[in-house]
Symmetry: C2
Subunit: 390 residues, 2 copies
Amino acid sequence: MFNNADMQLRSTQMTDQSPRGGVHERRRGALAASAEGRPETSDVDAFLVTSQVNVRYLTGFTGSNGALIVGAGDRPRSGDRIGTDGRYTGQVAAQAGDLEAVIDRATASALIAHATANGLRRIAVEGDDLTVSAFGRLRDAAESAGAELVPLDGCVARLRITKDADEVAAIAAACRIGDEALGALIDRGAIAPGRTERAVARDLEWEMFGLGADAIAFETIVAAGAHSAIPHHRPTDAVLTVGDLVKIDFGAVVDGYHSDMTRTVVLGEPSAWQREIHAVVERAQQAGRDALAVGADLRTIDAAARTVIADAGYGEYYVHGLGHGVGLEIHEAPGIGAAASGTLPDGATVTVEPGVYLPGRGGVRIEDTLVVAESGPRLLTTTPRTLRVL
Amino acid sequence: MFNNADMQLRSTQMTDQSPRGGVHERRRGALAASAEGRPETSDVDAFLVTSQVNVRYLTGFTGSNGALIVGAGDRPRSGDRIGTDGRYTGQVAAQAGDLEAVIDRATASALIAHATANGLRRIAVEGDDLTVSAFGRLRDAAESAGAELVPLDGCVARLRITKDADEVAAIAAACRIGDEALGALIDRGAIAPGRTERAVARDLEWEMFGLGADAIAFETIVAAGAHSAIPHHRPTDAVLTVGDLVKIDFGAVVDGYHSDMTRTVVLGEPSAWQREIHAVVERAQQAGRDALAVGADLRTIDAAARTVIADAGYGEYYVHGLGHGVGLEIHEAPGIGAAASGTLPDGATVTVEPGVYLPGRGGVRIEDTLVVAESGPRLLTTTPRTLRVL
């Protein structure tokens, strides 16, 4: 596979996605309007977006090289431009036809030139996306055009927290694929003594593709026996054995949106300690889900689950946060943890995934993806959470 | 899957990789020695490495959070440190046991503190890895410790170009998996009219996993008919049809090292234009491979293949560079293209992959991975390059 950066001339890219101008223009409007709400952006003239996932969110464009300039405040949206290179001339017209495109290999610099030609001088850039080197090159281009770049973090990530109906539908579809895939594996006895972690992981991924996943959400975790005590274990050729806890953490991607679910099963009759830690995690996870109220403090949500585990005496064996936002990225805002700040917005899609990990013995994690609503959180992953004996 | 950044306490990670101190210490020595060879690094006291792939290259550590500080010039290697967080205490000892580890959630800052405590004041950082925001945080930490950070590009990438025997062996193993997987698909008639691009891609990936791939090297490209004219086409549900060119670009990962190969087959008897463009690309690819001499100018290598295509009248349909380095990353130095600079080093592993893409009709690319040597380039991908009629 050649390096995209080495493309020299124009080519076209077909697309199977139709423009959805309305929703993307509305999102760009929200970004523009956000400038006035925050002191650090109140005097910027425009936002330059360089993160590919943020460009996709704001335009629908899915090519590997895109950037976007959005005028801040009430500047007319007609001045906004998407930038890409000649490979994507056809694709950008098909996916982001409501935006004029600037076709130039020096994509971001060309957008800065467009902005300065229109009198925009103070341009916010994504400090959490641009490398120091890329920023240095852009800053030089901006300075020679009389503009100033202001690195800021999270301007688009904040907007992405609250999902619209189409986004929730895509995440729900990805969750459904996960539920069905795991169910199919269990039904046909594919999670059984004698098989390897790796084989089970591959089967699960294969099943998700067969059910229509565009991609897997992240490298599938299948962790058996003592490995289940490793929070993020990468599947090995270790063989599943009677008596093992088997922790399975996986997801699918549909239309760019991710799902995320964990279940821990046991092979053969569970021992007392296995039953106990599973029951503790099940209660903690329920408490975490129950705490997902619109406007709830993120630390309070984390504490709701953490307290259950601590009270049962396993606090030191629960070593990570309670959950995270899920959407165009597998991990996005808001993070729900002991060090989080802020509250839970309406329409956020988040995971709830406490765990207890006993080093050298085994661990349990139970994780769901949910969408937050005034009427209460709605489960998008529906595989039963009770300890499944296989 | 919870966010790694949200890990709060210590846990341990098992590993199946043993330390190979010798090779990694030698690499760190080469990085240290490189400081004196270049004006921009001649006065730095240390290198702070934050790119995960570079940390792996220099230490063997494969965790998701690692950093490394290496004293520049002839400073004693005993002052070098690897940094990670408490999740990886066990893994870092197992994989990088020849280095003392600094275990701290603020991994890079902790290494800067270690360096300044040892009198190192001018610290080179990876400007092509750190984001503006991450650099800003580190710079603040450095300044309060009396140190200065110097962003530089490519200090480790340059070292990685020349592969040692173990690295070549891993790439060769990945290439062999690719060869065998494609051969198996062809043998059992899996690339045939009526199947979808997506199904063929999934079969190929499945086959590679079955043959021992740790991962696929990148999203497999299967592009049939008019899609084959799209250089980087993502597989769709489009059905393969008699008369189609089918372009297949794929690779495997073994022990972190990638393979990369493209073949273009035809379904049923090829038409005259299909035969012609395949023959042109085949000749161009041979010319490119023949030009892979140690010390050859990278642009001259590119031109060797490009001239063949241009002379045949298809110059405008060859829209990308000739090739790229392959190793721990699918695309690494050196890039071989019309805008490249420099020469080809002994021991580089590179691709040679010219193509001709006729929009709306079809395209052909032929790609191999080779290792460069004084005795001439050695092919690591060995599937025949002649037009295969299926």
